[in-house]
Amino acid sequence: MTAATVSSAPQRTDVPDAPATRGSGAGRRPGTTILVTGILVVVAIYFLVPVYWVVVAASKTTDDLFGTNGFWFGNTFALFDNLAAVLTYGGGVFIRWFANSVLYAGVGGLLATYLAAAGGYALAKYQFRGRNLVFGLVLGGVLVPGTATALPLFLLFSQLGLANTYWSVLIPSLVSPFGFFLCRIYADATVDSSIVEAARIDGAGELRIFHTLGLRIMTPALVTVFLFQIVGIWNNYFLPLVMLSDQELYPITLGLNNWNSQTDRLPEFYELTTGGVLLSVIPLAVAMIVLQRFWRGGLTEGAVKA
């Protein structure tokens, strides 16, 4: 079997600049290509169906939503009416939720990345007493389920008077144990101790060495940590659900859930929900596709040490 089917493949390896350097060198026969691509197309349809459905559903009136085929557009094209309703309902509360999410994810992501970078760099580049203790403590933190701490955190914050404020969601978002690890591993591997020593001899202060040298060298890992943290905060539901009772402070996940839970009593909320989902999915989907290439770098470093 091997002799018959692979006979054309070894021919290619004899050519030094064969194009098959990428990947596993699996066969390039057209049959295989069609089969593999066919499987990938089917899987892609699975991943895209819900998003396609919401695009269609957001363009329908409530009557069409229930009366016409869900996979095709309805009789009236009401997309812009629906989106206008989403943006204006309740005095523009949707925009407020969106802005809240941007605030939580943006500020939280930036500060969390900076703090994780400083901490990881310190652990990688300095020998100090308590280093292993700090490391072990944070390692435990990675394995503790995030939702297990949310409830006690609420009890703690309500005693401090912080519950139901912006701070109650923002402060926990500033800590990324996973980012801390990634930064530590990355700083260990990339920030050369002899460069740090040279900077010291040149008279640079320790913090200045970190800010000018460390941060610059660690940038690829920092991008990964930042993206992880942004997605983590943006997608978080349990923490804001526990912490916030004031709708004005809601992130978009909580707000849309609020609308969705009213659909069984008030059918017009179907249009608000599908329109709101569409508006919130588009920027995220675009961001994921555009930023997808940044998700590589640090991930394997973390995986190799695991």
Partner: protein, 320 residues
Amino acid sequence: MTTTTTRTGATTGAATRPSSRPAKRRRTAVDRAPWILVGPFLALFLLTFVLPIIVAIGQSFTTVTRAGLFGEQGVTTGFAWFENYRIALEDGNFIASIGRMLLFGVVQVPVMIIAATVLALLLESASARWPGFFRATFFMPYGIPGVIATILWSFLYVPGLSPIIDLTETLFGFTPDFLGAGTVLWSIANIVTWTYAGYNMLIIVAQLKAIPPEVYEAARVDGAGPWRTAWSIQLPLIRPALVLTTVFSIIGTLQLFAEPQLLQTVSPAIDSQFTPNLSAYTTAFAYNDYNVAAAQSVLIALVAFALSFVFLRLTNRSSR
């Protein structure tokens, strides 16, 4: 020499001469710097991770008794030993929810990891067309919050709204029930797989890309076909990524909350104690029993710890 030390001391940057005093100052700066750098992270970590865990453990061993109907005659707290744990563990629904998550994890985690691995291998094989497009498409759901993913899928599950149900009715004359008692757990599994399969795939792809081309070259020279290469070379080399994604998936499974909580409105089969986390949330906010809820949270964390630990142990042993 000694007369100049006060000046060089003020500006450590100028202390390039080999005198003992500035060197000592430099030493303390090096000693202090790591704590200045790690300090803010550590303080926030202690506040948001360590302290809540201590509070939770403390709460779980505390009992609150209210005098009077609404506690208006004073509230007394006392040490309860394992009373809250006993209440939590004797709650059949809570235990059932943990069992449900174990069943869920045993099925969903392997299915998702295998799917992610197969997709990663297909994308990295030379046979795939447009790998960039497919990679981006598969990864896209990771950016969609679980809440929104659940809202999306719930529309596809609800009879009357779902085009999928309409489709199977016209094509096969069969009406699937996505939200029934026996099926809703797997409908949730579908949402979770949809959200995270592409993310896990990307981690595996990253590790596949790290395999040096010489390894493939050697395999080809030895006459290994694509199946043999995948099984004997790629799978062993992406093992760390598989372990990592599996551990994170196990932890994620026990945290399941948003999906069942949202589907509650459309599926009567989901009760308020469907998952361990939902159970703890209900205990805390519907029954206002924070102490038992704390005990439940501690138990969830312990189970997550134990499962991750056992899994890491098993994989470590078999790699030797």
